[in-house]
Protein backbone atom coordinates (compact mmCIF):
# COMPACT_ATOMS: atom_id res chain seq x y z
CA UNK A 1 0.00 0.00 0.00
CA UNK A 2 1.48 3.31 -0.99
CA UNK A 3 1.79 6.35 1.16
CA UNK A 4 -0.70 8.07 -1.14
CA UNK A 5 -3.58 5.74 -0.41
CA UNK A 6 -2.68 5.97 3.26
CA UNK A 7 -3.07 9.71 3.04
CA UNK A 8 -6.47 9.43 1.35
CA UNK A 9 -7.79 7.05 3.99
CA UNK A 10 -6.49 9.37 6.63
CA UNK A 11 -8.27 12.32 5.09
CA UNK A 12 -11.58 10.47 5.11
CA UNK A 13 -11.03 9.61 8.71
CA UNK A 14 -10.37 13.23 9.62
CA UNK A 15 -13.66 14.26 8.04
CA UNK A 16 -15.47 11.70 10.13
CA UNK A 17 -14.04 13.26 13.25
CA UNK A 18 -15.91 16.52 12.69
CA UNK A 19 -18.86 15.11 14.57
CA UNK A 20 -18.97 16.21 18.21
CA UNK A 21 -18.29 13.64 20.85
CA UNK A 22 -19.71 10.54 19.27
CA UNK A 23 -19.04 7.19 20.83
CA UNK A 24 -18.43 4.01 18.93
CA UNK A 25 -19.99 2.13 21.79
CA UNK A 26 -23.39 3.60 21.01
CA UNK A 27 -24.72 0.12 20.53
CA UNK A 28 -28.25 1.21 21.25
CA UNK A 29 -27.93 2.23 17.65
CA UNK A 30 -31.51 3.21 16.98
CA UNK A 31 -31.51 5.71 19.82
CA UNK A 32 -28.28 7.47 18.91
CA UNK A 33 -29.00 7.61 15.21
CA UNK A 34 -32.43 9.19 15.68
CA UNK A 35 -31.03 11.96 17.83
CA UNK A 36 -31.17 15.35 16.21
CA UNK A 37 -27.85 17.11 16.05
CA UNK A 38 -27.93 20.70 17.25
CA UNK A 39 -25.43 23.31 16.24
CA UNK A 40 -23.01 24.13 19.01
CA UNK A 41 -20.21 26.62 19.21
CA UNK A 42 -17.82 24.03 20.58
CA UNK A 43 -17.76 21.35 17.88
CA UNK A 44 -14.30 20.18 16.85
CA UNK A 45 -11.84 21.04 15.45
CA UNK A 46 -11.88 24.76 16.17
CA UNK A 47 -14.95 25.15 18.36
CA UNK A 48 -14.96 27.27 21.50
CA UNK A 49 -17.45 27.93 24.22
CA UNK A 50 -19.55 31.08 24.19
CA UNK A 51 -18.84 32.70 27.58
CA UNK A 52 -22.21 34.43 27.70
CA UNK A 53 -24.02 31.19 26.93
CA UNK A 54 -22.13 29.37 29.68
CA UNK A 55 -22.95 32.13 32.14
CA UNK A 56 -26.64 31.85 31.29
CA UNK A 57 -26.38 28.08 31.47
CA UNK A 58 -24.87 28.32 34.94
CA UNK A 59 -27.80 30.38 36.08
CA UNK A 60 -30.24 27.83 34.71
CA UNK A 61 -28.34 25.08 36.52
CA UNK A 62 -28.19 26.96 39.77
CA UNK A 63 -31.72 28.25 39.79
CA UNK A 64 -33.47 25.11 38.57
CA UNK A 65 -31.38 21.95 38.28
CA UNK A 66 -29.34 22.44 41.44
CA UNK A 67 -32.47 21.96 43.54
CA UNK A 68 -32.06 18.24 42.95
CA UNK A 69 -28.81 17.63 41.05
CA UNK A 70 -25.38 17.85 42.64
CA UNK A 71 -22.27 18.84 40.69
CA UNK A 72 -19.63 17.77 43.11
CA UNK A 73 -16.62 17.80 40.79
CA UNK A 74 -16.90 21.54 40.13
CA UNK A 75 -15.55 24.30 42.37
CA UNK A 76 -16.71 27.92 42.36
CA UNK A 77 -13.25 28.99 41.18
CA UNK A 78 -13.85 27.03 37.95
CA UNK A 79 -16.46 29.63 37.03
CA UNK A 80 -13.69 32.20 36.66
CA UNK A 81 -11.06 30.06 34.93
CA UNK A 82 -10.28 30.56 31.24
CA UNK A 83 -12.19 28.38 28.79
CA UNK A 84 -15.41 28.53 30.81
CA UNK A 85 -18.09 31.05 31.76
CA UNK A 86 -15.22 33.34 32.79
CA UNK A 87 -17.10 35.28 35.41
CA UNK A 88 -14.92 37.99 36.91
CA UNK A 89 -13.09 37.27 40.16
CA UNK A 90 -15.48 39.48 42.11
CA UNK A 91 -18.52 37.73 40.68
CA UNK A 92 -17.01 34.34 41.45
CA UNK A 93 -16.51 35.38 45.08
CA UNK A 94 -20.08 36.62 45.24
CA UNK A 95 -21.51 33.47 43.68
CA UNK A 96 -19.50 31.35 46.08
CA UNK A 97 -20.52 33.42 49.09
CA UNK A 98 -24.18 33.02 48.14
CA UNK A 99 -23.90 29.35 48.97
CA UNK A 100 -23.86 28.06 52.51
CA UNK A 101 -21.17 25.42 52.75
CA UNK A 102 -20.95 22.84 55.49
CA UNK A 103 -17.57 22.96 57.20
CA UNK A 104 -16.05 21.56 60.35
CA UNK A 105 -15.88 19.93 62.75
CA UNK A 106 -15.14 22.96 64.90
CA UNK A 107 -13.33 22.87 68.26
CA UNK A 108 -16.50 21.56 69.86
CA UNK A 109 -16.76 18.74 67.32
CA UNK A 110 -19.76 20.27 65.51
CA UNK A 111 -20.24 20.78 61.80
CA UNK A 112 -21.24 24.35 60.91
CA UNK A 113 -22.37 26.43 57.93
CA UNK A 114 -20.36 29.24 56.46
CA UNK A 115 -20.48 31.27 53.24
CA UNK A 116 -18.70 29.62 50.35
CA UNK A 117 -15.27 30.53 49.06
CA UNK A 118 -14.03 30.14 45.47
CA UNK A 119 -11.96 27.12 46.49
CA UNK A 120 -15.06 25.28 47.73
CA UNK A 121 -16.80 22.61 45.71
CA UNK A 122 -20.32 23.41 44.51
CA UNK A 123 -22.86 23.00 47.22
CA UNK A 124 -24.87 19.80 46.87
CA UNK A 125 -28.63 19.95 47.41
CA UNK A 126 -28.53 16.79 49.54
CA UNK A 127 -25.92 15.59 52.03
CA UNK A 128 -25.88 12.06 50.56
CA UNK A 129 -27.54 9.75 48.03
CA UNK A 130 -30.04 8.37 50.49
CA UNK A 131 -31.35 11.83 51.33
CA UNK A 132 -31.57 12.57 47.60
CA UNK A 133 -33.61 9.45 47.00
CA UNK A 134 -35.87 10.12 49.95
CA UNK A 135 -36.69 13.55 48.54
CA UNK A 136 -37.36 12.20 45.04
CA UNK A 137 -39.60 9.14 45.47
CA UNK A 138 -36.65 6.76 45.57
CA UNK A 139 -35.09 8.04 42.37
CA UNK A 140 -31.56 9.40 42.52
CA UNK A 141 -31.00 12.56 40.46
CA UNK A 142 -27.60 11.89 38.90
CA UNK A 143 -24.67 14.17 39.54
CA UNK A 144 -24.34 16.48 36.54
CA UNK A 145 -20.57 17.07 36.52
CA UNK A 146 -19.74 14.72 33.63
CA UNK A 147 -23.27 13.93 32.47
CA UNK A 148 -22.63 15.30 28.98
CA UNK A 149 -19.97 12.61 28.50
CA UNK A 150 -21.92 9.93 30.38
CA UNK A 151 -24.78 9.85 27.92
CA UNK A 152 -24.41 8.91 24.27
CA UNK A 153 -25.35 11.93 22.22
CA UNK A 154 -23.93 14.27 24.84
CA UNK A 155 -25.33 17.80 24.74
CA UNK A 156 -27.63 16.87 21.84
CA UNK A 157 -29.23 14.26 24.06
CA UNK A 158 -29.52 16.62 27.04
CA UNK A 159 -31.18 19.25 24.85
CA UNK A 160 -33.55 16.67 23.38
CA UNK A 161 -34.40 15.45 26.88
CA UNK A 162 -35.16 18.90 28.21
CA UNK A 163 -37.28 19.66 25.15
CA UNK A 164 -38.81 16.20 25.04
CA UNK A 165 -41.52 16.37 27.67
CA UNK A 166 -44.93 15.61 26.20
CA UNK A 167 -48.27 14.20 27.17
CA UNK A 168 -48.01 10.42 26.83
CA UNK A 169 -49.57 8.89 23.71
CA UNK A 170 -52.93 7.15 24.34
CA UNK A 171 -51.52 3.62 24.11
CA UNK A 172 -48.61 4.28 26.48
CA UNK A 173 -48.74 3.04 30.08
CA UNK A 174 -47.11 5.61 32.31
CA UNK A 175 -46.03 4.26 35.72
CA UNK A 176 -47.14 6.31 38.76
CA UNK A 177 -44.83 9.22 39.55
CA UNK A 178 -43.18 9.05 36.12
CA UNK A 179 -43.21 11.55 33.27
CA UNK A 180 -43.32 10.90 29.57
CA UNK A 181 -40.32 12.05 27.60
CA UNK A 182 -39.56 11.44 23.93
CA UNK A 183 -35.79 11.36 24.25
CA UNK A 184 -35.36 9.36 27.44
CA UNK A 185 -34.65 5.63 26.83
CA UNK A 186 -37.89 3.82 27.67
CA UNK A 187 -39.73 7.13 27.32
CA UNK A 188 -40.54 7.58 30.99
CA UNK A 189 -38.43 9.28 33.61
CA UNK A 190 -38.82 10.19 37.25
CA UNK A 191 -37.61 13.71 36.51
CA UNK A 192 -40.43 16.17 35.85
CA UNK A 193 -40.20 18.68 33.01
CA UNK A 194 -39.51 21.66 35.23
CA UNK A 195 -38.26 24.21 32.74
CA UNK A 196 -40.75 26.75 31.47
CA UNK A 197 -40.53 29.93 29.51
CA UNK A 198 -39.63 32.90 31.68
CA UNK A 199 -38.48 30.78 34.60
CA UNK A 200 -34.87 31.94 34.80
CA UNK A 201 -33.91 35.60 34.70
CA UNK A 202 -31.51 36.39 31.85
CA UNK A 203 -29.78 39.75 32.10
CA UNK A 204 -28.10 39.92 28.70
CA UNK A 205 -31.24 40.31 26.64
CA UNK A 206 -31.46 36.69 25.47
CA UNK A 207 -35.06 35.56 25.19
CA UNK A 208 -36.26 33.68 28.24
CA UNK A 209 -37.61 30.70 26.36
CA UNK A 210 -37.50 27.01 27.16
CA UNK A 211 -35.52 26.47 23.98
CA UNK A 212 -32.83 28.92 25.06
CA UNK A 213 -32.72 27.51 28.57
CA UNK A 214 -32.28 24.02 27.18
CA UNK A 215 -29.57 25.13 24.73
CA UNK A 216 -27.70 27.18 27.30
CA UNK A 217 -27.75 24.61 30.07
CA UNK A 218 -26.73 21.85 27.64
CA UNK A 219 -23.74 23.92 26.55
CA UNK A 220 -22.96 24.62 30.21
CA UNK A 221 -23.07 20.91 30.99
CA UNK A 222 -20.69 20.26 28.11
CA UNK A 223 -18.29 22.67 29.73
CA UNK A 224 -18.63 21.13 33.18
CA UNK A 225 -17.83 17.76 31.61
CA UNK A 226 -14.96 19.05 29.48
CA UNK A 227 -13.61 22.27 31.01
CA UNK A 228 -10.43 21.90 28.99
CA UNK A 229 -12.15 21.62 25.63
CA UNK A 230 -11.03 25.02 24.37
CA UNK A 231 -7.46 24.45 25.45
CA UNK A 232 -7.55 21.02 23.87
CA UNK A 233 -8.68 22.45 20.54
CA UNK A 234 -6.12 25.23 20.74
CA UNK A 235 -3.20 22.97 21.56
CA UNK A 236 -4.54 20.52 18.99
CA UNK A 237 -4.36 23.05 16.19
CA UNK A 238 -0.75 23.81 17.02
CA UNK A 239 0.21 20.16 17.32
CA UNK A 240 -1.53 19.15 14.10
CA UNK A 241 0.03 21.99 12.10
CA UNK A 242 3.41 21.06 13.53
CA UNK A 243 2.90 17.40 12.68
CA UNK A 244 1.72 18.18 9.15
CA UNK A 245 4.81 20.25 8.43
CA UNK A 246 6.93 17.64 10.20
CA UNK A 247 5.39 14.91 8.02
CA UNK A 248 6.23 16.77 4.85
CA UNK A 249 9.79 17.36 6.03
CA UNK A 250 10.19 13.73 7.05
CA UNK A 251 8.85 12.56 3.72
CA UNK A 252 11.31 14.76 1.85
CA UNK A 253 14.07 13.60 4.17
CA UNK A 254 13.20 9.98 3.55
CA UNK A 255 13.26 10.57 -0.21
CA UNK A 256 16.58 12.39 0.09
CA UNK A 257 18.13 9.54 2.06
CA UNK A 258 16.80 6.93 -0.35
CA UNK A 259 17.99 8.73 -3.49
CA UNK A 260 20.99 6.41 -3.91
CA UNK A 261 18.71 3.41 -4.00
CA UNK A 262 16.00 4.89 -6.15
CA UNK A 263 18.10 6.36 -8.88
CA UNK A 264 19.99 3.85 -10.99
CA UNK A 265 23.42 4.21 -12.48
CA UNK A 266 21.97 4.93 -15.89
CA UNK A 267 19.75 7.69 -14.50
CA UNK A 268 16.51 5.74 -14.79
CA UNK A 269 14.30 5.55 -11.71
CA UNK A 270 13.87 2.27 -9.93
CA UNK A 271 10.56 1.36 -8.47
CA UNK A 272 10.19 3.60 -5.47
CA UNK A 273 9.94 1.51 -2.40
CA UNK A 274 6.35 1.78 -1.25
Amino acid sequence: MTSHSCLKLFGVFLLALALPDRGIGDEEHSHASELQRQSWTFTPPFGTFDNAQLQRGYHVYRDVCAQCHSMRLLSYRNLGEPGGPEFSAKVVETLAAQAQITDGPDDKGQMFQRPGRPSDRFRSPFPNDQAARAANNGALPPDLSVLAKARSGGPDYIYALLMGYRDPPPDFTLAPGMHYNEAFPGHQTAMPGLLRDGMVGYTDGTEKTLDNYAKDVSAFLMWTAEPKLEERHKVGTRVMVFLLVFAVIMYLAKRAVWVPLHRRRDGAKQSSSS
Partner: protein
Protein backbone atom coordinates in the same frame (compact mmCIF):
# COMPACT_ATOMS: atom_id res chain seq x y z
CA UNK B 1 30.95 -6.87 -1.90
CA UNK B 2 29.23 -7.07 -5.25
CA UNK B 3 30.99 -5.66 -8.28
CA UNK B 4 30.41 -2.13 -9.43
CA UNK B 5 28.50 -3.54 -12.37
CA UNK B 6 25.65 -4.43 -10.07
CA UNK B 7 22.95 -1.87 -10.79
CA UNK B 8 21.73 -2.19 -7.25
CA UNK B 9 24.81 -0.56 -5.83
CA UNK B 10 23.95 2.81 -4.28
CA UNK B 11 25.14 5.53 -6.62
CA UNK B 12 27.45 8.23 -5.47
CA UNK B 13 25.70 11.46 -4.68
CA UNK B 14 26.72 14.68 -6.37
CA UNK B 15 27.11 17.99 -4.56
CA UNK B 16 23.64 19.22 -5.46
CA UNK B 17 22.09 16.10 -4.02
CA UNK B 18 24.19 16.38 -0.89
CA UNK B 19 23.44 19.99 -0.06
CA UNK B 20 19.72 19.54 -0.65
CA UNK B 21 19.85 16.47 1.50
CA UNK B 22 21.70 18.25 4.28
CA UNK B 23 19.10 21.02 4.45
CA UNK B 24 16.24 18.57 4.69
CA UNK B 25 18.01 16.41 7.24
CA UNK B 26 18.80 19.41 9.40
CA UNK B 27 15.16 20.45 9.19
CA UNK B 28 14.08 16.94 10.12
CA UNK B 29 16.48 16.88 13.04
CA UNK B 30 15.34 20.30 14.15
CA UNK B 31 11.68 19.35 14.10
CA UNK B 32 12.43 16.18 16.02
CA UNK B 33 14.21 18.21 18.68
CA UNK B 34 11.39 20.75 18.92
CA UNK B 35 8.77 18.02 19.05
CA UNK B 36 10.62 16.18 21.79
CA UNK B 37 11.06 19.33 23.86
CA UNK B 38 7.40 20.25 23.43
CA UNK B 39 6.37 16.76 24.50
CA UNK B 40 8.70 16.91 27.48
CA UNK B 41 7.27 20.10 28.97
CA UNK B 42 3.87 18.73 30.06
CA UNK B 43 5.61 15.73 31.60
CA UNK B 44 7.58 18.06 33.83
CA UNK B 45 4.90 20.70 34.45
CA UNK B 46 2.37 18.15 35.68
CA UNK B 47 4.42 17.80 38.84
CA UNK B 48 3.90 21.45 39.73
CA UNK B 49 1.13 22.19 42.25
CA UNK B 50 -2.19 21.65 40.51
CA UNK B 51 -5.09 24.11 40.34
CA UNK B 52 -6.86 22.77 43.42
CA UNK B 53 -3.69 23.13 45.51
CA UNK B 54 -3.06 26.63 44.17
CA UNK B 55 -6.62 27.65 45.05
CA UNK B 56 -5.82 26.89 48.67
CA UNK B 57 -2.70 29.06 48.48
CA UNK B 58 -4.51 31.94 50.16
CA UNK B 59 -6.53 31.77 53.34
CA UNK B 60 -8.67 34.48 54.81
CA UNK B 61 -8.98 34.60 58.56
CA UNK B 62 -11.46 36.59 60.61
CA UNK B 63 -9.50 37.83 63.60
CA UNK B 64 -12.30 39.62 65.42
CA UNK B 65 -13.20 36.64 67.63
CA UNK B 66 -9.66 36.44 69.06
CA UNK B 67 -9.70 37.97 72.56
CA UNK B 68 -6.75 39.77 74.06
CA UNK B 69 -4.33 37.21 75.40
CA UNK B 70 -5.86 34.53 73.18
CA UNK B 71 -4.23 32.66 70.29
CA UNK B 72 -5.58 30.58 67.42
CA UNK B 73 -3.91 28.26 64.93
CA UNK B 74 -5.04 28.06 61.29
CA UNK B 75 -3.67 25.95 58.45
CA UNK B 76 -2.09 27.60 55.43
CA UNK B 77 -0.43 25.60 52.64
CA UNK B 78 -0.27 22.67 54.97
CA UNK B 79 1.53 24.62 57.69
CA UNK B 80 0.24 25.84 61.09
CA UNK B 81 -0.07 29.61 61.43
CA UNK B 82 0.07 30.98 64.96
CA UNK B 83 -2.12 34.07 65.41
CA UNK B 84 -1.79 35.60 68.86
CA UNK B 85 -3.66 38.67 70.14
CA UNK B 86 -0.95 39.97 72.46
CA UNK B 87 -1.51 41.73 75.76
CA UNK B 88 -0.02 45.18 76.36
CA UNK B 89 2.48 43.58 78.69
CA UNK B 90 3.63 41.12 76.07
CA UNK B 91 4.11 43.92 73.54
CA UNK B 92 6.07 45.93 76.11
CA UNK B 93 8.36 43.01 76.82
CA UNK B 94 9.03 42.49 73.12
CA UNK B 95 9.74 46.17 72.49
CA UNK B 96 12.01 46.50 75.51
CA UNK B 97 14.39 43.77 74.34
CA UNK B 98 17.67 45.14 72.97
CA UNK B 99 18.51 43.69 69.58
CA UNK B 100 21.95 42.56 70.82
CA UNK B 101 20.23 40.12 73.18
CA UNK B 102 18.70 38.27 70.27
CA UNK B 103 20.18 35.09 68.84
CA UNK B 104 18.81 36.00 65.42
CA UNK B 105 18.89 39.75 64.64
CA UNK B 106 16.82 39.53 61.43
CA UNK B 107 13.06 40.01 61.22
CA UNK B 108 12.47 36.93 59.00
CA UNK B 109 9.41 38.74 57.70
CA UNK B 110 8.79 38.02 54.02
CA UNK B 111 6.67 41.18 53.79
CA UNK B 112 9.82 43.24 54.48
CA UNK B 113 13.32 43.34 52.96
CA UNK B 114 15.59 40.44 53.90
CA UNK B 115 17.89 42.55 56.06
CA UNK B 116 15.17 44.15 58.20
CA UNK B 117 16.15 43.91 61.88
CA UNK B 118 14.06 41.88 64.32
CA UNK B 119 12.40 44.79 66.09
CA UNK B 120 8.88 44.19 67.38
CA UNK B 121 7.59 46.67 64.77
CA UNK B 122 9.08 44.49 62.05
CA UNK B 123 7.51 41.35 63.43
CA UNK B 124 3.99 42.76 63.44
CA UNK B 125 2.11 45.17 61.19
CA UNK B 126 2.40 48.87 62.09
CA UNK B 127 -0.69 50.14 63.96
CA UNK B 128 -1.76 46.53 64.47
CA UNK B 129 0.91 45.56 66.96
CA UNK B 130 -1.27 43.39 69.12
CA UNK B 131 -1.62 40.85 66.37
CA UNK B 132 1.29 38.51 65.80
CA UNK B 133 1.00 36.19 62.76
CA UNK B 134 3.73 33.58 62.40
CA UNK B 135 4.41 30.26 60.74
CA UNK B 136 4.32 28.03 63.80
CA UNK B 137 7.24 25.81 62.89
CA UNK B 138 10.41 25.72 65.00
CA UNK B 139 13.38 26.79 62.89
CA UNK B 140 15.54 24.07 64.38
CA UNK B 141 14.14 20.83 62.94
CA UNK B 142 10.51 21.62 62.19
CA UNK B 143 8.50 20.66 65.28
CA UNK B 144 5.47 22.73 66.23
CA UNK B 145 6.16 24.72 69.43
CA UNK B 146 3.61 24.78 72.25
CA UNK B 147 2.21 27.94 73.85
CA UNK B 148 -0.89 28.58 71.80
CA UNK B 149 -3.41 27.12 74.21
CA UNK B 150 -4.07 28.71 77.62
CA UNK B 151 -2.26 26.87 80.34
CA UNK B 152 0.51 25.59 78.07
CA UNK B 153 4.07 26.29 79.11
CA UNK B 154 5.26 29.30 77.13
CA UNK B 155 8.93 29.20 78.04
CA UNK B 156 10.96 31.69 80.08
CA UNK B 157 10.23 34.56 77.70
CA UNK B 158 6.46 34.11 77.66
CA UNK B 159 6.25 33.24 73.96
CA UNK B 160 6.55 29.65 72.84
CA UNK B 161 8.44 26.57 73.87
CA UNK B 162 9.50 23.79 71.57
CA UNK B 163 9.24 20.42 73.33
CA UNK B 164 11.48 18.58 70.88
CA UNK B 165 14.85 20.07 71.79
CA UNK B 166 14.02 22.94 74.14
CA UNK B 167 14.15 26.02 71.94
CA UNK B 168 12.34 29.01 73.49
CA UNK B 169 10.77 32.00 71.75
CA UNK B 170 9.69 35.39 73.14
CA UNK B 171 6.44 37.29 72.77
CA UNK B 172 7.44 38.43 69.27
CA UNK B 173 8.25 34.88 68.23
CA UNK B 174 11.99 35.50 68.28
CA UNK B 175 14.27 32.71 69.39
CA UNK B 176 15.91 33.43 72.76
CA UNK B 177 17.20 29.99 73.75
CA UNK B 178 18.41 27.52 71.15
CA UNK B 179 19.13 25.16 69.52
CA UNK B 180 16.86 26.91 66.99
CA UNK B 181 19.01 29.29 64.91
CA UNK B 182 16.34 31.66 63.60
CA UNK B 183 13.21 33.51 64.60
CA UNK B 184 9.96 31.89 63.52
CA UNK B 185 9.06 33.12 60.04
CA UNK B 186 6.36 35.65 59.33
CA UNK B 187 4.22 34.55 56.30
CA UNK B 188 3.05 36.87 53.55
CA UNK B 189 -0.12 38.46 54.86
CA UNK B 190 -2.06 41.67 54.87
CA UNK B 191 -5.11 43.17 56.47
CA UNK B 192 -8.04 43.28 54.05
CA UNK B 193 -10.13 45.04 56.70
CA UNK B 194 -9.98 45.74 60.43
CA UNK B 195 -11.20 42.27 61.19
CA UNK B 196 -9.82 40.16 58.37
CA UNK B 197 -6.39 39.12 57.28
CA UNK B 198 -5.44 37.38 54.06
CA UNK B 199 -2.51 34.98 54.30
CA UNK B 200 -0.63 34.16 51.09
Amino acid sequence: MASHENSLDPIVLDDEDLSRRDVILIAAGGFTAIGTAAALWPLLDQMNPDASTLSLATTEVDISPIEVGQAITVMWRGKPIFIRHRTAQEIEQAKATPLDDLIDPLARNVNLPDDAPATDENRAVPEREPLLVMIGICTHLGCIPIGQAPGQYKGEYGGWFCPCHGSQYDTAGRVRIGPAPQNMYIPPYSFTSDTKIKIG
